[in-house]
């Protein structure tokens, strides 16, 4: 073994060979990575779009179709490109293409990492009608109840947004704008409420009672 090693090191290959072998392996690796990226990209994009659509349908009861809208600085218009940004909002329509409500995405710091969520809002009644956590890394077993605990999620099925949503720690909620915080996960509960309030502050003024009607191919 040690003899072998000595021989190998004494017969030192030129640096060209080292560079070439590294370059070749890097090149092949790059080709494979590009291949797998191109092969999986359509499925990944489709998954993301489906996930979002399902979330919109979940937070807005009765919705079967949606389209992306955008705030262009003055008013809400139908979004043309497919890239989502912070000025994107989703409008949900029922089977007869009647407007039901908006789905608003909002995010903010949770207990451990950013929480990203989507909530349904009905402008006519000024009510939150559903909430779905899209992304979070809250403590398993405690903070993750913000989406695993059905009772907590149900808080957001019928919730007034005025003057502000408040989380109540002790005793059951008594007002239409209150939710019951999760025992043992007060910070995560408060974070969800704060994120929704921030979303409201940002969006409620901008959202008209009636958005642009459903465009024919606007299934986005």
């Amino acid at each position: 073994m040690s003899n072998d090693l000595l021989q190998q090191t004494s017969a030192e290959p030129g640096s060209t060979r080292l560079v070439v072998s590294l370059a070749i392996s890097g090149f092949l690796s790059g080709l494979i990575i590009i291949g797998i990226y191109v092969a999986t990209l359509p499925t990944i994009t489709e998954n993301k779009a489906r996930e979002l659509r399902e979330a919109v349908f979940k937070v807005l009861p009765g919705v079967t179709r949606m389209q992306k809208l955008q705030f262009d600085g003055e008013r809400i218009v139908i979004k043309q490109d497919s890239k989502d940004d912070e000025n994107t909002v989703y409008a949900g329509y029922d089977a007869e293409a009647r407007f039901v409500g908006y789905a608003i995405a909002s995010e903010g710091p949770g207990f451990q990492d950013t929480i990203r969520l989507l909530y349904g809002y009905q402008p006519a009644e000024r009510k939150v009608v559903g909430m779905e956590i899209l992304e979070s890394r809250e403590t398993p077993g405690l903070g993750d109840k913000i989406y695993k605990d059905a009772a907590f999620v149900a808080n957001f099925d019928d919730l007034a947004v005025d003057p502000l949503i408040v989380s109540v720690k002790k005793g059951p909620k008594s007002k239409p704008n209150e939710i019951d915080a999760i025992t043992g996960a007060t910070i995560s509960s408060k974070a969800v409420v704060r994120i929704i309030n921030e979303g409201n502050q940002r969006w409620l003024e901008r959202l008209p009672l009636n958005p642009p009607p459903l465009a024919e191919e606007g299934n986005g």
């Binding site: 392996s25 797998i36 998954n47």
Partner: protein
């Protein structure tokens, strides 16, 4: 590390990873994913399968190209090979099992840094034929998966009262939340290591006894 003499078969090479040289319980390698993703049995198995794919694939490639790779840059080439397999596993999981990918998050790309995988390339695959290298990789990855599953199952059962998401104890079980938090990982791993060493000691003592009995009998 036993080098395969004429007596060790490829089958032995596979078996050693499962028990005698188990990467987690005996070599104590790959602790980062071991502690991080074992808060449920499903996560543990998903991480085990991803690691299995990467380890077996890289061992196969490294062993079959061992004469082409110059010694001076071998580690870099191994890392390139491993990283490629990890990227393939990452995108495949993201496309086919987005829910699992979401749970495992950053720990899939981190398989690149799993010392067990690079360790097997350097210590075994680069010195043996393809057949032995692949069998060794299957054994080691299998042993790693068994260990992940053991940890994940214990933590899920105690921490959530469930296994594979199915409730085991009914309504009245109060889950030990600490078991699915990081301290639970350390506690469970410590106890399993204790068990493994204890069994090993017992076996050694037993063999010594047998040997002594044989000597006195002769």
């Amino acid at each position: 590390m036993a080098t395969p003499s004429n007596k060790t078969t490829a089958y032995d090479e596979m078996l050693k990873g499962l028990w005698r040289d188990n990467p987690v319980f005996v070599q104590v390698l790959g602790m980062c994913p071991m502690l991080a993703v074992t808060n449920s049995a499903v996560n543990a198995i998903a991480m085990g399968l991803a690691t299995f794919f990467v380890l077996v694939g890289s061992s196969f490639l490294v062993s079959s190209m061992k004469n082409l790779i110059p010694k001076q840059v071998r580690i870099s080439v191994y890392v390139i090979i491993i990283a490629t397999f990890v990227t393939v596993a990452d995108y495949t999981l993201l496309a086919l099992f987005p829910a699992v990918h979401k749970e495992l998050g950053a720990f899939i790309p981190l398989i690149v840094a799993n010392c067990m995988i690079l360790g097997r390339q350097e210590a075994f695959a680069s010195k043996h034929t393809v057949k032995y290298a692949v069998m060794d990789a299957i054994g080691m990855a299998g042993g790693f998966m068994v260990a992940l599953f053991a940890l994940g199952a214990v933590r899920e059962i105690l921490g959530e009262g469930k296994l594979f998401g199915l409730s085991l104890f009914g309504e009245h079980f109060e889950p030990w939340v600490i078991m699915i938090l990081p301290p639970g990982g350390f506690i469970t791993l410590g106890l399993l290591l204790l068990l493994f060493n204890w069994v090993g000691e017992r076996k050694k003592a037993f063999l010594a006894q047998v040997a002594a009995a044989e000597r006195s009998g002769a």
